[in-house]
Subunit: 397 residues, 4 copies
């Protein structure tokens, strides 16, 4: 059956050429990202277990979760944890199939704790974290569907995924600054830089302003002076980094809410604001491309935690993003591409109701058919997305 | 100080004229909407209490909450509740100011329960609902800020709000069908129609397909046959209603996942899918205009539960929406308007960093300045939004 | 099979004749009693439901539960509820049998709430109470055992029950004062008397001192003076009541921890100390005779919440108590009787491993055989205890 | 001031000479003991922290806690954890004094987890345990009282403690069997023996029957046959051990509920029945002497978790127990001694309202005064009990 792929020439001016552009990224230690990451890891952990036991990923959707911030008292050199960070894990996951039981709760807790240990280095996950898992078993019909479903699964819902490429300079800056500051290499040299890093980039005309909020870790600092020095050093590092990315005039601001003269600075025990009241919810942070881009088309779909087999909201989000980047890599004459994939519930996921591809290109007429083929081919291979997700090769936030 | 208002002529084709359009609304009884509604009501309840005690709304942001679905066994004529619906309420709210304590937990629970009773008529809120409130006290600095802050509050964050007008036919249909089916008048005649109504409208060219999912209430039905008859009747009613809204060819589908021949239909004890496993999170449902419109510019901002005083994410979302509709009402020559309001943290909220107004109009040159005045004036009066929200005159989902 | 009933002449001096005697009763509104009462009511509610659905009481033991006190701010005329009272309900109960499901959670919550409303008149159960039910399903083997077990059930465990009769004057005083102050008649006249009433009686020689702690209800009092007057009035009422019970010299103390001169008195919003921090656990309060009597033989067994079919800890406790009172009623020549019933796990409950009856009587030799018959007969009819419990005719705390 | 110490000659036959005697011990891995142990460890951990920060133990009473059993699927060689064991920790503890904050929650969780790891070797405490701590701050008045109270604290309540000595043979057997099977030495050789060991001893005349229930650990066994062999070996070990304690005819029964022919045996993943549904509550298990002795005088007082400074229920329980054993050690002519210490609220704890000492001795008249001195001296030194408890030298269950 022929796929309903519609290629159109854009009627709009691409974002990098518009007057205003706003981009945000919540780093991996931001409360919203933490809970996204936990639920996605649980999905991956469950998927691996299902494959081990049944040869197939079974039904699950653990795409709802809540982090309730704790309470700490912080001082230079250390601090105290007065109230633990609380996690509510929720969603559904197959607990039994073919007479075998799956220890869903054990996997959920183990995965969540291990993930947290990896992501927030300075959090004592054993003693300052409380987890309430309310993940419950799914319906029996769904067990069958996943065990003995068709090679190309049917869409579980009417949902859509959106993607675009390439990234503008602002988008690149925002994404790469966070990656850089949260890289193992940087942490080695600057352990005082916590994982909760929020980057916001605003372009007006050809001037960019980047605001970076960093939760510094108290135990690596002995005084306000040391804080100020380290913050200044980090700012310099960011400035150098940004020069590698864009020729545009870019100004960097770090922790603008600090009042150093009053001694009020962004100092934490653990490197995340989750320690002192900030809450987080699945799906309230970055989209699958790692960014929040209000001036681009976005879905509200929370990809994290959804099953990577038939949940089209997740699969199409990842696919649209990857497809867009494949197109501009393959066909540099495409200046900008926006993709929307709309599923039809109950139909094979390689047959979207519509795949809408909007292109900005001086060579639109010649590139059009090539893009069509590429999209068609990727839709044919849609199930590969599933493996990529399980293997951790496709990010979702 | 002059406001940074930028009026531009649109470079895009307005949505109603594009080839594909997709619109969704999650009705008031949908799990995401229920928790949105509860948190917003708590914000309003707290606001009223603060005003009563202190003459001002004090700091709070209760914009995170989670509904974990219960478990029921349903049969024609009734059913059983096997596991309660669980609510986690979270966020922060001032618990003490000027030596007076505020019974935040009591207000939260009372408001949540009363709201639920109003919104899900057939839910036994006392016995089939469990509430865990983890709303905690805010910082003392914020108490002062709210008690003795300036007449025009300072923006609490760098956030933005987006709005557009007018609604396309598909948008109108989607919104109005849900309002119609959930109106007291309709419930009087059709008590079997539950409050969890999800409407999705898809337009391709000039053909519209509307899919409506309705959780029917078991106690008003004695058999599968009665279910089928009542569903058919509701479908007819929708068809009539739609004819009043659009001349376009519109096809209506109700509960497409039903397999009547197998006896598998969308029957519930309470009228919401929250009873049997579906979870809900604040901010994952409708935007402040009541819709999810992936082809329009949207924010990820969850308005529900945020304080209506200085949380620009909420205030600018409501304001952008209302402003857009005021513009098209006042100036019918404006065919389409898109508004983005971007705040600057720490600056008065009547001074956005940028107010971007993009207009589609044949009379752009003549209407431009008028729109500018209107926007300027509304920004001047931005604090009126606060009252509207507290009085329930501005919807947020 | 003959029953192993051993009648012995006491080698001890009966408690009322000893030098020191100490007796305590925690009133129905005391945190320990509240949670005892809730779990017992849930057991009764489940029992009735099982009988309705299956004609038999099915397996359950909901004999563990925890009340975590709330927080209030109290003032004359009223007050505020700052943190709800939290209840953890736990234990096991059959959720499914013969293909029918039982809505255990619904019954548990409904019963708990209704019981609370009845017992703590001034508690807003809907808004100031949080319930977390972790009652879970029992094993499938036990379903069968209860559905198709023998007419006389087998003991579920090796447990014992203890009872004695008659009550000493101190025991009578302690029990009756609480009953009197918590009677509907007294509440009618003195609504300010809360349900949390703790009575402690100490006899040294022939002098009795009775200390009564009463949680007064703030909304029925406008001032410290009114508090003092009402407290004095209640003290007088108690003194009158006590004169009806004992000829011994008895001194009454009410709320000895009050410091009226500092304004520090026992004033509550609801009439129970559970509102402000006092916790309660099942089985930590009164024994089945309504008293705590350290100088008498007592079991640690918590009767409340246990199933009344085969849980010998509960059944033998109630039976030993009733048997003892039957003996002294029937045979007034018995001055004092102490009973211990020890079960053998897996054996019919009408065949205890040993029924030990220790008697103080001047006519021991003549009354011995009569008592033997009575005990034998009551053991034969042991299953009647089950009905008495379900019908609420046998108290358990 | 002279202490009110009353020495009396017993009017009763000592328990070892009566016809029937029943004694029970719940081993350290029994659900009731686990939660007793956790709350006691938290009290000790808090005490140490308070001493470190303030030089004094501050107010706390964390004597209520609940363990809700998990769910496992067990097979020879291993098994799965389907639902974690849940702990509710509750009570009150000073969170702030002299401007310093105490990280009560952190200490509670850390202590609880470390204790669990030590006591239940085969439990994966990180991933199969869920802790909800609802320990909350105490009143400010109490902070002052503890910081600046008198050298000999005032009794916090009217409570009593009971003790007796020496142990009968049955009591010795029951206590020592559990200690033996749970000793590190025995675990070294028999790691398959779990920590949940319940011992019940019944003496009728001079015949003793001891029933031992042991949760065996699945991973150390590969088959039913191996289970049977190991169980038989343990039984032999117990028999040998018992011969060292008593000359009386003693029969040993191990896991009498096993049906080996049906393959139904007492096999667990972790060595405690808490893994599969058995719940536990503070204060429902052993008294401070390590035993449950229904034929002896007992208090219902839960010692575990109470503060060791002014909580007379705890202090007098430990003191009465130690005093009784000191008396029989010092004066072997005392055959049996029973002690009851009754406090008077608000009075120094070295001045009980009454210390009642009942003695069985052929040399009563000569030993009487010596006992009086000993008791008087120990009361004088009552505050030493506090240190013993904090240092872990005085057991409470």
């Amino acid at each position: 059956m022929e796929r309903n792929i519609i290629i159109e020439k854009a009627s709009y001016v691409p974002v990098p050429k518009r007057g205003v552009e706003l981009v945000e990224r919540k780093g991996i230690g931001h409360p919203d990202s933490i809970i996204d990451g936990i639920m996605e890891e649980i999905s991956r952990g469950l998927s691996r277990e299902y494959i081990k036991e049944f040869g197939k990923i079974l039904h699950h959707n653990v795409d709802k979760g809540q982090l309730c911030g704790g309470a700490t008292e912080v001082e230079y050199g250390g601090g105290k944890f007065l109230k633990p960070i609380f996690f509510l894990l929720t969603g559904r996951a197959t607990e039994e199939a073919e007479g075998k039981k799956i220890e869903v709760q054990h996997i959920a807790r183990e995965t969540a704790r291990n993930y947290l240990k990896g992501v927030v280095r300075n959090l004592d996950v054993e003693n300052d974290v409380e987890i309430d898992s309310r993940i419950s078993g799914g319906s029996k019909d769904l067990v069958e569907l996943f065990l003995r479903g068709p090679a190309v699964p049917f869409a579980n819902d009417t949902s859509f995924g959106a993607g675009f490429a390439p990234f503008s300079d602002v988008e690149k800056i925002v994404l790469e600054i966070e990656n850089y500051l949260n890289s193992p290499e940087y942490k080695q040299i600057h352990p005082e830089v916590g994982e909760d890093i929020k980057v916001m980039g605003l372009r007006q005309g050809d001037k960019i302003k980047v605001t970076v909020a960093i939760a510094f870790v108290s135990k690596y600092m002995s005084s306000l002076q040391e804080y100020a020095e380290k913050k200044a050093k980090v700012k310099e590092d960011i400035e150098k980094k940004v020069k590698e990315i864009t020729p545009l005039d870019t100004e960097i601001f770090v922790n603008t809410a600090d009042h150093e003269e009053k001694g009020s600075v962004y100092l934490t025990l653990t490197g995340t604001s989750a320690e002192m009241g900030d809450d987080g919810s699945v799906g309230r942070g970055n989209r699958v491309n790692g960014l929040i881009t209000p001036f681009r088309s976005m879905t509200l779909e929370a990809a994290a935690g959804k099953n990577p087999v038939n949940h089209v909201g997740k699969i199409y989000s990842v696919l649209a993003h990857e497809m867009a980047f494949d197109i501009v890599r393959e066909y540099p004459q495409v200046e900008d591409v926006s993709i929307t994939l709309l599923s039809q519930i109950g139909k094979p996921i390689d047959q979207p109701k519509v795949a809408s591809i909007v292109i900005v290109s001086d060579e639109y007429d010649t590139v059009k058919d090539k893009v069509h083929s590429l999209v068609d081919k990727q839709l044919e291979n849609v199930t590969e997305i599933t493996n990529k997700i399980v293997e951790g090769k496709a990010k979702v936030f």
